[in-house]
Assembly symmetry: D2
Homo-oligomer: 347 residues x 4
Amino acid sequence: MVENLRVAVIGAGRMGADHIQRLHTRIHGAEVAAVVDIDLDRAKAAVAHIPGAQAYATAAEAYESGDVTAVLIATPGFLHEVALLEALERDIPILCEKPLTPDAASAWKIVEAEQKLGRKRIQVGFMRRFDQGYVQLGGLVRSGELGELLMLHCRHRNPDTPPGFTNEMLINDSVVHEFDVIRFLTGEEITSVQVRLGKATSKAPSGQHDPQHVLIETASGVLVDVEIFVNAQFGYQVTTEAAFEDGIVNIGADGGPTVHRAGRWGGEVTPGFEARFGAAYDVEVQSWVDAALRNEIGGPSAWDGYATAACCEAGVEAQKSGEKVAVVLNEKPALYGSFEPAQGGAQ
Amino acid sequence: MVENLRVAVIGAGRMGADHIQRLHTRIHGAEVAAVVDIDLDRAKAAVAHIPGAQAYATAAEAYESGDVTAVLIATPGFLHEVALLEALERDIPILCEKPLTPDAASAWKIVEAEQKLGRKRIQVGFMRRFDQGYVQLGGLVRSGELGELLMLHCRHRNPDTPPGFTNEMLINDSVVHEFDVIRFLTGEEITSVQVRLGKATSKAPSGQHDPQHVLIETASGVLVDVEIFVNAQFGYQVTTEAAFEDGIVNIGADGGPTVHRAGRWGGEVTPGFEARFGAAYDVEVQSWVDAALRNEIGGPSAWDGYATAACCEAGVEAQKSGEKVAVVLNEKPALYGSFEPAQGGAQ
Amino acid sequence: MVENLRVAVIGAGRMGADHIQRLHTRIHGAEVAAVVDIDLDRAKAAVAHIPGAQAYATAAEAYESGDVTAVLIATPGFLHEVALLEALERDIPILCEKPLTPDAASAWKIVEAEQKLGRKRIQVGFMRRFDQGYVQLGGLVRSGELGELLMLHCRHRNPDTPPGFTNEMLINDSVVHEFDVIRFLTGEEITSVQVRLGKATSKAPSGQHDPQHVLIETASGVLVDVEIFVNAQFGYQVTTEAAFEDGIVNIGADGGPTVHRAGRWGGEVTPGFEARFGAAYDVEVQSWVDAALRNEIGGPSAWDGYATAACCEAGVEAQKSGEKVAVVLNEKPALYGSFEPAQGGAQ
Amino acid sequence: MVENLRVAVIGAGRMGADHIQRLHTRIHGAEVAAVVDIDLDRAKAAVAHIPGAQAYATAAEAYESGDVTAVLIATPGFLHEVALLEALERDIPILCEKPLTPDAASAWKIVEAEQKLGRKRIQVGFMRRFDQGYVQLGGLVRSGELGELLMLHCRHRNPDTPPGFTNEMLINDSVVHEFDVIRFLTGEEITSVQVRLGKATSKAPSGQHDPQHVLIETASGVLVDVEIFVNAQFGYQVTTEAAFEDGIVNIGADGGPTVHRAGRWGGEVTPGFEARFGAAYDVEVQSWVDAALRNEIGGPSAWDGYATAACCEAGVEAQKSGEKVAVVLNEKPALYGSFEPAQGGAQ
């Protein structure tokens, strides 16, 4: 009988707590062995209801316990580099929440460290690749049944932003998902980014220019426009419209029951990313666990993390200049193979 | 050059006023020559803005003016019989708002009078036959491309009812449209009606049992259920779902812009029959005018008026007994031909 | 640490195999311990890939192994009675696929046996109670925010039927789900059933009259019409439209990506019940496992199985007579409490 | 009684023939008096079924007949300038199909000529202002109920293009409608245009780069992206999505009956602009006739024609350079007033 993975979750904040609950109640083949948080009380609270799980203040202590065979990193992005290097040294399966690291240079260091190891240990948490809509759209692209994909129109709308959400975070935390999805759908790298700041909403916090218009191009010339609008008030919405040579595809519409009541018909707007992508997170983590038990990864690789970090850097520069900014990547190491994304597949 | 029809509109109430406006501003080939209303002041008000139109208290006076070559009857139903007989005597084109007359016996008298005349002069105001949705559904039935039509599910919902709206009017004024549409879509006569009074809304006026469930069968066995719900609060809605051997068709959904606003997405509910069927009324009257200028009718005939009156009688009886009540018709006079409905075609 | 349930699955046919896969790969807190099938080879094939699971030809052998702490019954309905009595003797948690048993008399014997035991051990496999659409509609009923529920319109369409599917199975295997859902949504027992056989499709196998129209009434007078159409060719579709005093709700529409291609726009029709209700099955079994680990049930009870069996009996009689047939139930034992369905809750 | 307009239609090609039919059969208050076409046989064929209408080879002859009191110009755009100046000399109501003229310099000459006349005689044929969807969206903008309008996403898709359709015509004949609609919706002038040529379809004729991505900005900074895709194969589609401070609005979705047939559900794609905008053309011409009978115009003015011509010039330049190109306008003459578009209103 294959042993279950014994997972250390690093970071017990919003995403970490969500993943702990997921591993403990919904994911087959894995158990929470440890929760690591610099705030030890928060770690202790997180394991209180989980028999056999321990709380630690550092990852090192967790690893030393001898009870950890895999790690899920859910700290803020600036702490990822150290955690990743530490986990790579242990040569254990790693699921790292996006971004891999906050910038292309540090992301490249991770890629290099993994190369030295000689096998893919890191899966990056771009969960949209596991969302049914993107999976189906990707399938349509690869089937060729509608001809070549020519353009994408992406909308990313949040009702509002947490305190301290900056213009740069619009790119690094939100548009980063579009960067990954564009690469996933087209199977191509992104070559340039342009950002236009137009009319701004009065509902954004001071210092934030919202919405913004991002125009992206891929290697073969696929143009992608993104409306990133993070104080859109009405609800949460992520949709993509794809123009092919022979047809148009739309994904991401709000579903659920439709109600006719006085004067209006319709349904409920999705309130947030948990409702929109909750199932995708479950499938993502299950895919990681299944692959990890075979010593593989089951989703986006460190290369995907590096490539999107380079896009984000170009995006932030474009945001400032208003000009088209080229995205330049290092040569792709052989370890990451050619570009053949399976369902949420590693590259 | 063909002379325009000079139309006398009898009845200047809600429907009459609507038709006067339609003839005066939107219909080619016809002009309002006279408005007849027992309330002469109402008639005078109606013609005030129409050059060349006169007001009268009786139809006889209008006809005697020598300026009338066609008539549109828009009085309450119980006044139709006299007005129809008077117009038939003049042998002029007649557009008669539904119902033809309020009961089968009087409707049959009209059929007999028209037969004596020897040509179809009466078109009945079942405007749904000119509605794009019903026309397209009828086309699908007749094309046979989805196989045989097997069942229909009809919903007829009003926000509320005018004072004095009785249980019998639920059948005679509302379900009567479904009777006509079922005959139009199936090309068959109706053979039985059953009415079930279930749980009632608390929003209906005293004495009215609302909603009601009507189960109808046609000659070949097509079963039709109708939800008639006339105090449905939220808005106006008329939809039909058709089950064919090889597919399902839905018509009548609310359209228009969709709006996402805080917490809800959707569109506006249709507020009333004017918005839902306004275009159908225009097409209906235009069709009548075009046919009348060729001495024909361009829509449902007196036979259709008679057959639906017989359905209504059976419906009201079924409403009281809760049993299945057979619909029995006189033999169809040759004048009305076989059953081949064209777009909104006469039969 | 709570021990996982060790489940014996009885019956390794279509539904059984589906549940074995579910328990083995997706459900937390339970493991497949045994597969029982009179065809021992089929049982052996089913456990071949499951470490620690054994195959048996009879349930008795499985119980005697000492490794079974819960049972899932997925045999054809006529074998349920014996399997249920045997499992009740063991006093272990039971998940029994619908129907509880094929008729009201045998279902009542099960209810009596469970009463003797003195606690609810049986959960019946009405998985629609765990479907997101029905859960949300049930929530709207109970919230009262749209006023009283007045009518339901249900459509149940299959592309075709397996060999040997009879008229009675239309009621016992298909409409039975509507009986349960009506009881779940209204929180009321069903009082009468009427079945009308109208125009039949040419696509049904000989001896089957399809579609049929079922008209159902609940204790407070809620009327429900059901189109049951099991050779509908185009695909699988289960929808419900609910008319409330203050609004209308629709659930069950086909979702997924919409595609515009030459001449047509739209999406894919659901191909079968696995796609439509696959997630509901997962939630159902998980709910049963979670409750079983607390010695409770987490869904429809034996009483629900008995009450729907009585509805089916009335339905089959109504199918033959064309008349309204009353549904008469024994007095409800105290064990099953009053009618307060929670999400998919037991009653 | 007001005399009907006696209209000379100049140009009996596709659009001209359509307008002749419209004036002859559907528009109240106007009649076709003359058809002018350099191909006299085509003009004769067009009037053959219209009592009282004459055919001419030149507009001058039509005017000299003394039977013409208004003119509708439907020739190719490069012939508009001469026809407009000739009609302005007559001081009669003019409905001029878009574009006003093919470039900003000649359009300005028309504006100057009309100013000398001292009253607005020219209405330009931007029929989208009369489309129900744009009217409703414009109403939402002006009501302010969703806050400020921030971004627009426009899609303009044709199944294919007629022979000789050039890259410049993509802007001048297709995007010109978006230029007008943006001005209509925002009530602002356009300040810059950028065009990006990305991945091209293999279905476009040689020499045409299709689709193209147009990024437009208005005076207050509203950003608008346009996908112009004129060989989109599947059908005709014009949609707009508007992002407001407090909500999102979508117009232009395909409507009509939805059909479930083997494997797919959905409706018919709109085949062409006649089906999508036929009703808008009727309303547009009726609005012009009604206004003309009062010596006014009832839609977009010569100023609107000039302003969109300037946008087109910038668009074609942007198409070639790939850079953002500013749109510069002459000062607006007092005759055209301030920017207060009513329903399809003149400015």
